[in-house]
Amino acid sequence: MSEFAAVLPKLIMLVLITLALAIESFGSAVVRRALLLTSAALALLGFVYSFWLLDENLRLWSDALVIDNFAVFTDMVLLVLVFIVILAGLEGMGRSGDAGDFYLLVFLSLLGASVLASAGNLIVVFLGMELSIIPTWALVAFRLTDRDGFEAALKYFLMSIFAAALLLYGFSLIYGTVGSVTIPFQGEVETTRLLLAGIALVLAGFAFELAAFPFHQWLPDVFDAAYAEVGAFLSVAPKLAAVVALVRILSGLEGQSDAWTYGVAVLAAATMFWGTLVAFAQTTLKRLLAYSAIAHAGYALVGVAAGNQPGMEGAVLYFGAYGTGVVGAFLVLSVLAGRGFDDQLANFRGLGRTHPGLASIMTVFLISLTGIPLFAGFWGKFSVFWGAVQGDLVWLAVIGVVNSALSFGFYGRIIQRMYLEPAPLEPAPPALGIGADEINWPLRLALGLTVGLTFVLGVLPRLLFQAVG
């Protein structure tokens, strides 16, 4: 397989970027729509093509890019994700004059995430990280009229450049002690204080990107302030790629696992608890999803902490499985927000009766997020916990299960509100005026796809496991 055939999905992302630039240049609505549809089709094409790349395991261009199953899986998730994001925004954002800018930023970040996930040396890891992050600052601040967006963007910006600096310093120490930037690092590596310092700093940097416990403050603000599409994108793409890169770096440090296992385990446990507990106190859906996203990063870190093959695979797989649920939830939010529906949790009362279609879809996503069998989310959790058990971290798996059970508390509460509580009469419920049939077709397609994925992956987890392992 030639080098360019192996990176075709990334080349497709490059084409998407140029298409978005073209949208910016040719302002007419028809052209814009055509270009967006072309982009969506290309993304799908890339997804399908990626199947041929599975099990190829290539190292390209002086090991700078690695096309292994993790990387291909990430590309597939990313391309499906961007397909959904394009469709979801086609009738909303896609109609505005800013569509070109918006999708350009999304595609740039997409390419960054893809590069990050297949980075074969520390330089490319760092660059991929930055490329996936820099456009998202602008995405968060995309609503010009919205002060909150800018505030969130500023905090996000300051946090992530600090994280980047920590990461860079950590990389410098690793490079200095190991003597190479290529992953996996060659030769026998002696555990020294300097190397440990490097690993610790790198972990801190990644913890920022994943919004793990002590470094999570930016995430709720960002979710709160950004468009639902941006939230859907942000909750999956950069994090999935970051987990892949983290897994690759840590497993590339042969014989060093003692050094980081417990650090990551504690990080994971703290993150799960913090995310889950604080989520209970939230009153809006976006912030609830944000804190649950923090908790979910913790679950993924459980797999990383396990440090063995199933754990690492589980961590990568986790975001794919979790992604279906959270993206779906954001899509529902986007439908509701398009009708002036505030995402206060109290507003969900009686949604099951007023909008049975949306409510049932939402229920599917929430159940998947909780991790109940027969939905995609379950297999994500199952794989990381199984990895933890295999890696002699039973206590961590137990904490994970406990947290999953706890999380049903707030996810279930929404379901309960939707079906068991009457719609508020006074004040009158927001005039939504929508049945499922009034949602525009691209959005309906996106929703259908997400629901379908949640079910199919839930029933046939082999598809997921085969892709990764």
Partner: protein, 99 residues
């Protein structure tokens, strides 16, 4: 070599102090740049130890410099936009969201 590490460690500490205590967005940016420079110093120094003819460390330092420039450009645009909306660049006073 240890000398380099001592210096970069000191600079890292200074940068961290700045990040933790400064409240103005511009000074925060400066503090982070100090951190990144400490890292670049390490890279350049280590470049001499490991296969100097490959220049990996220097390449990494150049990458660090260009990324820092990108961050500064976007960040300052953001800071200006913030100033136009909030009338201040003091992060402590821009706290309408709950975090």
């Amino acid at each position: 070599m240890t000398l380099v590490l001592v210096f970069s460690g000191l600079l890292f500490a200074i940068g961290t102090y700045g990040v933790l205590t400064r409240r103005n967005a511009i000074t925060l940016l400066i503090s982070v740049e100090i951190l990144m420079n400490a890292a670049n110093l390490n890279f350049v120094a280590f470049s001499r130890l490991w296969e100097p003819e490959l220049m990996t460390g220097q390449v990494f330092a150049l990458v660090g410099i260009s990324i820092a420039a990108c961050e500064a450009a976007v960040g300052l645009a953001l800071i200006l936009a913030i100033f136009r909306r909030f009338g201040t660049t003091d992060v402590g006073r821009i706290d309408f969201l709950r975090g």
